[in-house]
Structures are given as C-alpha cells and as structure tokens.
Symmetry: D2
Amino acid sequence: MTDEVHEECGVFGVMTPESCDVARLTYYGLHSLQHRGQESCGIVVDSVDGTWSHKGMGLIGEVFTREVLDLAPKGRISVGHVRYGTTGGSNIINCQPLEIRHERGNFSIVHNGNLTNTCGMRKSLEKTGSILHTTSDTEVIAYAIIREALTADSMEDAVSRAMESIKGAYSLLIMTEDRIICVRDPHGFRPLIYGKMSDGTVVVASESCALTTVGAEPVRDLDPGEILTIGPDGIVSRREHCGTRPRRSCVFEYIYFARTDSVIDGVSVHAARIRSGIELARSSPVEADVVIGVPDAGTDAALGYSRESGIPFGIGLLKSRYVGRTFISPGQDERVRGVWLKLSVIKETVSGKRVVLVDDSIVRGTTMRRIVKLLREAGAKEIHIRISAPPFTNPCYYGTDVGSRKGLIACDYSIPEITRILDADSIGYLPLEKLSTLVGCDEYCSACFDAEYPLPIDGDMSADV
Amino acid sequence: MTDEVHEECGVFGVMTPESCDVARLTYYGLHSLQHRGQESCGIVVDSVDGTWSHKGMGLIGEVFTREVLDLAPKGRISVGHVRYGTTGGSNIINCQPLEIRHERGNFSIVHNGNLTNTCGMRKSLEKTGSILHTTSDTEVIAYAIIREALTADSMEDAVSRAMESIKGAYSLLIMTEDRIICVRDPHGFRPLIYGKMSDGTVVVASESCALTTVGAEPVRDLDPGEILTIGPDGIVSRREHCGTRPRRSCVFEYIYFARTDSVIDGVSVHAARIRSGIELARSSPVEADVVIGVPDAGTDAALGYSRESGIPFGIGLLKSRYVGRTFISPGQDERVRGVWLKLSVIKETVSGKRVVLVDDSIVRGTTMRRIVKLLREAGAKEIHIRISAPPFTNPCYYGTDVGSRKGLIACDYSIPEITRILDADSIGYLPLEKLSTLVGCDEYCSACFDAEYPLPIDGDMSADV
Amino acid sequence: MTDEVHEECGVFGVMTPESCDVARLTYYGLHSLQHRGQESCGIVVDSVDGTWSHKGMGLIGEVFTREVLDLAPKGRISVGHVRYGTTGGSNIINCQPLEIRHERGNFSIVHNGNLTNTCGMRKSLEKTGSILHTTSDTEVIAYAIIREALTADSMEDAVSRAMESIKGAYSLLIMTEDRIICVRDPHGFRPLIYGKMSDGTVVVASESCALTTVGAEPVRDLDPGEILTIGPDGIVSRREHCGTRPRRSCVFEYIYFARTDSVIDGVSVHAARIRSGIELARSSPVEADVVIGVPDAGTDAALGYSRESGIPFGIGLLKSRYVGRTFISPGQDERVRGVWLKLSVIKETVSGKRVVLVDDSIVRGTTMRRIVKLLREAGAKEIHIRISAPPFTNPCYYGTDVGSRKGLIACDYSIPEITRILDADSIGYLPLEKLSTLVGCDEYCSACFDAEYPLPIDGDMSADV
Amino acid sequence: MTDEVHEECGVFGVMTPESCDVARLTYYGLHSLQHRGQESCGIVVDSVDGTWSHKGMGLIGEVFTREVLDLAPKGRISVGHVRYGTTGGSNIINCQPLEIRHERGNFSIVHNGNLTNTCGMRKSLEKTGSILHTTSDTEVIAYAIIREALTADSMEDAVSRAMESIKGAYSLLIMTEDRIICVRDPHGFRPLIYGKMSDGTVVVASESCALTTVGAEPVRDLDPGEILTIGPDGIVSRREHCGTRPRRSCVFEYIYFARTDSVIDGVSVHAARIRSGIELARSSPVEADVVIGVPDAGTDAALGYSRESGIPFGIGLLKSRYVGRTFISPGQDERVRGVWLKLSVIKETVSGKRVVLVDDSIVRGTTMRRIVKLLREAGAKEIHIRISAPPFTNPCYYGTDVGSRKGLIACDYSIPEITRILDADSIGYLPLEKLSTLVGCDEYCSACFDAEYPLPIDGDMSADV
C-alpha cells in the first residue's frame, strides 16, 4: 500500500495550420505533464497516410525513443496521454489514446478523470450485445458516444448526448480526422486549458505548464460543461451543459497534483501553495529556528510559512534525482534494512535547531515518521510538523487514487495520537475553512477532507474502494 | 560540446565483520554517489565461492536490477564504482572495478581521479612486453602495482612503491581477498573518507553522504598520501607519502561536484555554498526584489545571497524530475525548435521583479542565455547574474571534465561582453581571493580559475585537451 | 512479395483431471505447431485465481521464456495459438487467444481459418452500436457468439446458432471457465483432432503431431460441422451442422503445410508426400543420375520419386539451421549481392550428374531460379524440376496466404516458358487428377489449383486479394 | 553435462582490392560457420577512420542486427569469429576477435583450436610483469607474438618466432592494418582454407563452405605449419614450420563437426560420411526393412549404409527447426516430464519394421536411449544402432569439447552392455582401422578413439579435464 496520493492522468492535444512534426510537439507537452501519470503513455497522429499511434508502459522518455519519434509521420492533429491508472489496472491494453474504428467515423480519445456510473453503463452495453475489451472507463465513454453517433448529426451532437448518460469527472480530448473535440465535465472536476501559438497553432492540455513548455500562450480554461471544437471552422464552443451543475474543481490540484508553474482556472499554483504556508503560519504558529519543506511539494508552503512567521527558511532535506524506478529492497540483512535513498538530511541546517517541517499531506504516515527519525538523528532539537492541507480522511472517486480509507492515519487517530506516532513535537494542519483562501473562491471539491461528495457514487465502486 | 562540468568518478568500499549482503550495501552507497558519474557502474564482491562482479553502462538503478542483486553472493568485502569517463572513452571495457588476476595475487581496483603521466607509463610498459587492454589510466595504475608486486613483500609495499611512479590525482580502493587498501594521492586532489557502523562494519567512500546513507558514522578523511588498510588486522595506516607534497584538494567539489549533504575534509558542502552566496552578496551587491537560484546547485548560494542582502529568497525556476535520459531533439520544425524541457520559469515569482539569479558556474554560456531569455519572457524587469565561483578559464587535468579551453565563455570575453551576450543587466563572480573563505583554508587547487597547476602536465595530455 | 505460401494459424487446447502445469503442456503443444505460424503466439490458462494470459510477437521460444512460464499458474484448462496473420495485419492487438469479458460469461477463443463474410458482418455489428477493436475476423466470430448468447440456453447453443451466420473456414477452440468447446466448420477446411492421455487428460490440436509431442494418443479428427465439448460431463458431441455441406478439407495441408509426422483425417502426411513422388515419377519420368529434394518439404516426394523410378536418392541441398530471423540484406556492394544463406549445394552429389530436383510448389519462381543457378554452378549436367502438386494458379480464401494472383508464375506463363525462365531442362507437375491418389478420397478443396471454390467469396475480399 | 561434442570455433577473414562493405561479407561468411560455435561472435573491420569492432553473446543473426551492420564502416580488411568456448568460460570478455593495441603495432586476432601449454606460458608471462585480462588462450598467443615483436623485424617474423613457444592446435588469423597473416599449426589439427573471387578479393576461412557462400572459389588448404600473408604484396607463403611435425588433422571434422558441403584437405565431407556408412554396412551388416539416420549428421551415413546394404533408405526422425534456444524444462508435473521437442518419429516409416538407426556418435547415451524409446513406441520391431565412428573414449585437448572421460558410455561399458542400456537389438561401431578409408590417408588425429595423442598434454590441463 502506497504512502502517496496519485493523479490518474494528463491529456494533451495540438492542431497546427500546416502539416508538421506534431508528434514531437505532443511528446514535449506530455513530458511536462509526466507528474500526472508515470505508468503508461501514448500519442496518436493523424497524417495523410492515416492514423499513426504509439503507446507503451513507462515514462515518456522511455516509451518514445529517438527511433519511435523519427518514425512518426508529419500531420496537423495529434493527441497524447500520460496515465497512472487505477480503474482498469496497469496493463498495455488500457493505455490511451483509445482508438476507435467505426463506420460512423474513426476517432481517438484520451481521458483524465473517473466515471462514477461505469458499472451500470457496462452492464447495459453488454446486455445489448456489445463486448468491452478494456477495463477502463474510457471505453465506456467511447461506447456512449458511438451509440449516440448512430443517430446524431455530428460528432459534437453525439458527444453532447453522451454527456447525459455518463456521470463523474472527465476532461476529454476526442480527435477525429479533422478536429479535436475538447470536453470538461459539468462539475469541472479536472482542469483543461487551451492556448495558441503566434502561427495559429492551437494547443489544449490538462495544465498550463504544458502550453508554456511548447511555446503557446494560454487563452483560457474550459468552462465546466463546455464542448470546445478545434477544427476547420476555427475554435467553436458549445455550452448547453455549462451551468447545469455547480462548479467543483479539485482543490488537491493546487495542494499537490499540479506543477508549481501552472495556473489553473486563473489561480497560480505556486502562489496558492505559498498562501497555504502563510495561512498555516497564522493558524499554527510556533517558536523555532528554521523552516524546511519536504521536497518537492512542501517547499513552496515552507517558504510561505517562513515569510509569514519570520523564521528563516532553510534547505534541510535533499531528494535524490536518481531514485526514480530504482529497485529498493532492504534485503534480509539488518545492515541494509534501514537504508533510505529517497531523502537525505542536510545536518548543517537542522543540527541543534528547533525545526518547522512543512509538507502537503500525510497519507499513511510511514514516510513522515521516517523523516522525523532522520531529523532527530541529525540533531534536530524540536520538530514541528505543519501540513498545508486539512487532514486527509476520505477516498476520492473523481480521478485520484489514495486507495481505501483503511490506513489513512487521520481516519484512525486523533492529532495528539498522530503527533506521538510520528514522534513530533507538534502537528498543525491547514484549517478546512482556509481552503477558500488558497483557491480564491468557494467552488471547489474538497470531499477528500470533508466527505461532501458533489456526485453520488455508484454502489459497486464505493464497495470496491 | 557540453555546457556542463563533469566529475569523473565515485568510489565505495565496505568490509563487514560477518558475511552478509555486501553487494546491496555497495549498491546503496553508489546510489548516493550517482551524481559523480552516470555513464557506467560496477560492483565486485568477494565471497567464499570466489569473486562475483557485475558492471554495465547506465545508472546504478538500471544496471543493478532486482535480478542482478538477487544473484550477488554474500560476502565480507565489496567495492564499487560510478563513472563519467573522459580519458578512456565511454565503453564497457573501461567500466570499473577493474579486476586483475595474477599469480602474485588477484585484486580489484576502483579509481577516482586522473593521472598526468599516463602516456609515458603506457609506452614504458609496452616496451617491456606488456599489453594494455583498456584505454583507462586505472589499468596503468594496476600495472604499476603488479610490476612492484613481483618483488615486494606485501600488496601495501607494492602500492607504496607504485606511488613513486604514478603522478596525478587518484583516490583508490584496492580490494584483495581479505582487505581493502585505500589510497589518496599526496596532493589529496580527490576526497576519500571512511566511517564505521556500530557492528564494526567499515565503509570508505568518495563522499560522506554515502556513509550516512548506509548508516555509517564518518570517522575521518584520509590524509593526502595516506595508505589505509581495512583488513584482518583492523585499520592500519601507512603514512610514508604523507606530507611529501602540498595538500591541494579540489575547490570545485565544494562549489559544484559534491552532494550538498556531504562534509569534505571537515567542511560542510552546504555551509560552504551558503558562504559563497554571502560573499557574493558582499562583493557584488545589487538592489533587487527577489533572489532565485538555478536548481539544483545554485539554490544554496542563492539562499546565502538572500540572507546577507536581505532580498527575499524565491523559487523562480523548476527543474524537471523526468528529463534524465530523455531524448530531446528540437527537430526540423520551427514550432519545436525552441522547446526546453529541463527548466521552467515560475512566472508568479519573477514577473515585474528585479531578479538576482544565482548559479555556480558559467561554462559555455548557452544554458545561462536560455535561462535569461525565459525570465525576460516571464516578465522579469531586471536580471542580475551572480556566480558563486570565479570565472572558469582553464581545463582541469585532475579528474574533472570541461573539455578544452576553446569555447569557455570567460576565456573569450570580458565581463561586460558576457553581460551583453547573456542579455543580463549585470554579472558578478565570486572574487578569486574569497575561495579561501569558502573552504576555510588555503590548501586547495583552483587551477581551473587561476591556472596554478600543482603538478606539471604530461605533454601529450595538454595537447589533447 | 514473398515467394512462399503461408498457413495462417495453429490451435491447441488441453483439459486435465487435476490442476497442474497446463501452460507448459500448451507451450509444448504449440511448439510442435510452430510451422503453422511464426509471427505471434499466446496462451490462456484458467486457474483458481482467475484467467492468466500471455501473448506476444515472435516464436514460442521467444515469447514464452522461462520467467514467463514460471509465472503461469496451475490450472485444469488452457488454450493456445500460433499465428502467421494476413487478415488483420501483424499487430499485438490481433494476437490470440482473444479474451472476451461479458456478463453472459467470459471466454477465450482461438481460430485457425478465414471467414469469407467478414465485411458484411462487421458492418452489421457496427450499425447496431458495437465497436470492433481488432481487425481480425476472430473478433467477428466472438461477437456472433455473444449476440446469440444473449438469448441462448448455453454456450454450445450460442455457438451453434452463430455458425448459421459465419461463413468460411474455421477450426475454433472456445475456452470457458469449465470447458473447451471445439468447432470445425461444416466444410472441414482446416484440420482439428483430439486425443487422450492415460490419466484422462484430453488434448485437442490442429495436427496430430502436437498430440504425440505431449504424449497423448490421437482419438479421432473432428467431423466437419461438429461441435465437441470437453468439459465436466466428459466429451460431448453435437452434430446438427454435420453433413450440411460437402467435406472439403485442404489438400495443401498434405502437400506442404502440415508436419510430415502428422496424420490428418486418417491419412499420414509423410505417406501422402511419398505417394505424390511416386505419381510424379509415373506421370513425368526422365532419365537421370540422382534425385534430390528441396528441403524440407521436397525431400519426402523426392524419396517417392526415387523409389518408383529407381534413380538413386541423394542429398544435394543443405538448408541452414540458423537462417531463421537473421537479417539478410545484400547491401549495395556487388560482392555481397549474390550471397544466399538459406540453401547450399553439396557439389559432390550433383557435379557431372543429370539431376531430378523435387519440390512441393513454385509460387513466384524466384527461389527455384536461384536453386537451378546454384546447381548449374556446382556442375549439374541436366536439371529436371518435378513439382509434387499441380500448378498453383489461384488465391486461397480459406486460411492460407499466397497474396494475389499477380506474380504467380503458373498464371503468367506456360510450362515451356517456365522451363526457360527457370533455366531448367524440363519441368513436370503432378496432374490435377492425381490429387485424389494423394489424399485417398475425393472430398478435398483444391481451389488453389482448379478455382473450384466450395464457398462463394465476399465481394470486398476478392477485390482486396 | 551435455550429451554432445562441441567444436570450439570458426574463423573468417577477407581482403578486398577496393574499400567496400567487408563487414557484411564477414557476416555472411560467419553465418555459414555458425555450426562451429553458437555462444558468441565478433567482427573487426579496418577502415580509414580506424578499427571498428562489434562482439556479443549469441548467434550471428542475434548479435549482428540490421542496425549494427548499417553502422559498420567500409574497409578493405575484416576478420570474424564464432565461438563455442570451453577454456576461458562463456563470457563477453572472452569474445573474439581479441584486439591488441600496442606501440609495436595494433592487431586483431581470431583463433580456432586449443593450446596445450597455456598454464606454463601464463605463469611465465605473469612472472615478468604482465597482466592477462582474459582466461582464453588466445590472449596467451597474442602475448607470445608481442614479446617477439619487440625485437622482430616484421609481424611475420614475430609470429614465426612465437610458434616456437606455443604448443597445441591453432588456426589463426592475425589482422594488422594492411594484411591478414594466416597460420595453421605444424600438426594441422584444425582446418584452414583460402580462396579467391573473380575481382581479386581473397577470403580465408575454417571451412570451404564459407568461401562458397560468399562466392569465392577455393584455392587450397593451408599446409600444416604454413604462415600465409594476404597483403599489399599479394599472397606470400612462409614455410619454415612446415614439415617440422607429422600432419595430424582431426578426423572428427569429417565425422561430425564440419558442414556436409565443405571440402577439407581435398576430401568432401559429404562423401566421407557416405563412405563411413558404406564401411559400416560391410563391417556390421544386419537384416532389416529400413535404414534411417538421426538428423542432421546421421543422414549421410545412413544413405551410405542403405546403398551398400540394399536396405531402403527412409525418413524416420524429424528434427524441429524451432527448438534452437527454446527454454525446455520438463517442470514438476509428470504430464510434462516426458515431453521432447527436439526429435519426432515418423510412425509411417518405422511401424512394424526392422530399423537400422544410424548416428555419428554416442557420447553419454541419454539422447540415443530416448530415440530408441520413441521408435519402440512408434512400433519398430527391431532397432539396430550403427555408429559411423569408433567408440568415443578419450577427451580431446585440441579444440573440441566433450567434457571429461567420466560419463562417456563407451568408457564405462562393453558393447553388449551398451546395447542393453540403450534397449537396442544390436549396436555396430565403425572399426578404428576403417577411419583411413574415410579420410583417404593415414595422417589424422584420432586420439578421441585411440588415445594416441600427437602432442603431450600440459599437466594441469589433463587434471582439469
């Protein structure tokens, strides 16, 4: 059982005015979305010689070698995907883009999010004689679209009608041979933003950092419920699903998932994290000598805490650049059992000091306990843990993975108990009511902290989780 | 031509009181020395069934998979190596440890450094009928030892006599079947430190971070010229070469090479870097709104600059965790030509600000020019570059790689010219005379900054470089 | 364009009385069917922990390494497949077994053969809202079964009803969690045979050689149209489709495809090949000094020719054991352009001799021309080509691949012309009317020789070929 | 312990009048020598840009992929090697060609054979300060040459003087930058032949089949002791070592090792094998219905036996084309324990028959026992084993590998006992005195049959074996 929270996916799409090396643009875009999913990835290109695709298990840099990229044809449209993968299992067959060949038109689809009514829809599709090949809910979405396409006037119509039946979190890119149809679910759980280059190229991605990386200027985030077509007629928006549901964008994107240089729904992620540190310094002040963050995500909030409290900011923990997919098993031998490669302490910074240790979350507590132990061994006199989010107590059904409620330390123990378990001198969480300060509005989903789920959950699913 | 300076190697050795999983200990130790060399690596273990070894091109985590580690036998002695590799080329045959089978006794040898009289020694060995199989100078050292071993009383004697003929920078571990002979050259160019675990295990490594990672407490650095045997008679030091030459430890270890959590010759690397930032703030002050560092190495000095100047420290550049060995080629297409995956700007931090940008060195200037451009595009009003080292003007012959003098920006241009080339508002370097403040003494080699080479260079070599 | 005829597939299934290492049995069985398909292969096992499967591109020995086989769980049922692959392209997604998950029951399916009404069935399935993921006709069969399963009482009923709609050549194994349903199409185009081991294990395979390899005694071939269930109720046969169509087993199985140690529909393949040589000696006699065969398939017929004619049998051509997947490209250079690794001449056998050269077929003629040239260079005085089959003039739509009619030498040229093109002294083919002597009956398909197709062909298909 | 005899190596070299794709010529040549060694291979090319080499573990077709061959530069000289590998172990470091860089001149060396005084030479080299990196005796040869080269006038002189000190079996190619020096040891244990193409290209190889494959006409075998230089002065022969020792070419080359289409020292291998069958029919006649051979090597002798005895030749055993490097482990389960993929019986040929079964050798007897069992199960009434060589009773020290005398069935049992152990009806071996009929002269080594070793064996070596 992992001690981390995982985002499930990132999507990227591009349409250029002239045929060019679109696969490479998608490759670069996905690279900057790698933090959203490291298990598998894929790219589809539409070229004059038909559709080219490549998918595989692993990081972008592993799956798309020089040889693969050199084989990709030139074209004007491409979409790509990075995936972490919970619903559906980690399997090559669940890699996206999912490519659909059908007499109503071929299309490729990529999906960030998670449906909440997959089970029911699967059963109903099978009862009318369909076979689902994958276990991912992306295929369910594709089926919903195809079933509507049999009688709809256009793919956009089919998509709009399919949105009546699919429930849950979804940011989608649907690539046909001449357009990309971009969809954000009516709650707007997952982000989706588009931008432009000076030559007229249009780019759409899960996060603005992917736009900036390829040199595109962000235009705006899609609105919840919006269907945006990037195609031969320019950029066309359909809004019949907009406003049908309350906006509920994921607050955890700001706290942890998104890259610190992204701007989501108008709010800088880096700034939000610094504000969380500031709020934390206000709500959980402490006398100390140094503030350090757990890299990478805790650093921004630590800086905010330092600024507000006036306690000097220090670099006290070093994260290995090479740990990646390294095999780490402590072995049978006692000498190697305690070895930890991921984080090292910079003794100079913490020895003899009262330390404020800032991180973004405590999931099961094993990592944090280990960090506290390292700091104590390095001579830290006091350790005050500050978490830039409220206690994590509920599973997410909208596209992130924290496994079951079982083992979440904040479910099982009180704050004094957690303090003792982690061997800290004090623990402070960000108060629930301060989340709005962070995001700058009240229209977010914080179900993982307060169990206020904006959408009911499919019975089988909650049982499963 | 690369725009970086590379360390050539890292070494690690361990001897345990009882047979255990020593390969895994070496694996963990090398993991924390990975920054010293990423091209190849290797581990040798002495077990009751003979010598086991495994070497390969790539990172520790790539070469030593779970399967390989599971195959490694238990034993009491092991040495390992990570390598960047200039002299000798990047080739599997040059991977270390180099294993020598000889009727005077078998041994394995690992080497961090670079000899300055390799050419002459090679010729003289060949003229007496020897064949050298590799192009690395480690084989030359092995030969020098074997030639002496033919008449010497012990391996230590042979090593000591060989040190008369080999010139240059070398930190060596020589593993025989019952001991590890550790050697640091009389100038002490490269670091070498040993430590102990509570159970009596002795560990020796290029940097103290490797000791800490495996749970060993540092005892002390080897003295320049020292021969230290870790063996059946405990730890025995021979000092006949100590003091024969002035100590000249490499200042660039503190500025750039070493891991920030290491302590070398008694000086904390992190503290040295913060001091370099403090000195920089004193010698090159400027009015500005934020101080940012180029990750990873510039961050410490940026913090020092911020502390001394009172200008707020900010996080303005993000280094991708995934760029590693990713294939990056901008392609033919203009749209992809400008893409840069390695670093992104956090606009929030720099937009509309006067920025102090701290890095550890400028080699050819291409990277720095790119960073300045990114910052300007993100809205930085002024950019003041501060380098935590003097201008880099001379090649190093003692175990680091910066290629030739040709193309070093500080050789070809004056500071005002560099400022203009990089499109900065000002540039400040650390004054040469402040290096002593950094290291805390005067006994260092700073030839790369001042051309005062402690040892004459073999004719062919300087021509070659 | 290849100069060979390819079989498309081989199937293997096994059910044991007790849980055991069934994957390994299937592995061995598929190994002896490797000649029927070398592009991809796969095995499915039903175990107490669910279904395990592994598929991949390549030979059995490449895809199923020791590690993979060691991972396979124990179970009582397994089916496997080797594939050459024309319809559907060479792609991992078309690898079989095809695994179907559906609320009417999960099953895995393997298929040897080729449907003739795939296009029409695809369109009709898509028009009722289905998505086909692969381009293979096996998925069409699976869909046909599922559509019937929605209302059928049992899987056998569903299969039987699906057989009303699917047309063409098919030998199928359908594995559910407790049985294997074996099906041979009403014409019996492709072989399918089952057998037993002494412990009650039942084995079914494309050819008897796979039964013998795993130690099973052949019981009998399935009858055309038969549905045979190997399951909890023992072996149950359903015969409602038997006799609805004339038996038309493929004569080319005897001539070329099948392994010489197999017995198909009661006729030994080796004996049939020797008989073809005997008939050839009668219909195309010649005065000569030695009879040689083109290995491997021509050897048996050469032996028959020698026996009947009294001309000594010799070994004149050597086929390389290592040529397999070796990359062979003659390069730009003239020196390497003429190199041929596949076959060498044994000069001793042919020098100065009048040679009868026996092979099973001439497709495009390039290979045969090359052989004749080699023999002439080795000193053969006369070369009399004898082919143990009639001239090959028509494409096959029932599961073998010879590409289009275009380029078939026997379509474009008369026998005297072919003799001249190949630089032979004479050519003799087996007379069409002698095929019955070979097979021992008249109920075979010889459409590739006489264009008498037992089943009409789907319009698109013949256009395509 | 293997039940086969292995040849250790094959060598190939080529020199062309103009620069061309020599690597590809060597690749094709080695391909036809693959039967002489399947463990590793390598090619070296001398080009205007220096020496290019590639080596690896595996078959030629695995190590030399299209990509590798495309990287090889053009040049005029190349040598290559295939290796089985006993002395020295199966290790990448022992792959040949061995490349020597030395101030007396660089050269690459390939070797087929085995020295008998390696141990003594190793010790003496090490005592004068040399380090041997490999465990192969090829490095010892290289050292012997280099030691002489220090004072010799030419490489040929150095080679000639080195031949005074090295003892044993060796066919060598030594490639310098402008020539190939070919050497056959004074006994001529291993074959070596050269030939020419019409354009002046000269080719040298272990067997004539490699010459024929690349389109070269054989000129003649090297004489025992000959040093032949293919270089700028044409083809120059030095004969000072010729005639210093009795010719002792290996009789097992004819019986088993060589490819049947090769001609060695003027004798056709195929013809020799047929003669061995004829002699066998004379010395061990039997009444029977069919003669079959164990493929591949037994087939020729079976044909000879059939011709002389008048008993019909049949094809009774089929060797799998796909078994190659397939992983075969019978597993724990009884059902799979008896499976054998390598050979299958053609029942048609042997059922109810009295069978003469011809093979080239019985090493440990396990394979033969298995074949007899298969034939009995297929209904053979009688089985008369005939071996086309005398009983195999002694290890070979001249370049072939049969492991130790321990376990050789002919050492431990009498012929009646072997007959019983193998469950045969009779066994007949070729009489020792008939070997001359096979080779056509008396100047061969048959130590493996009669222990008459032409050269004394190094003490350690015989102990080792």
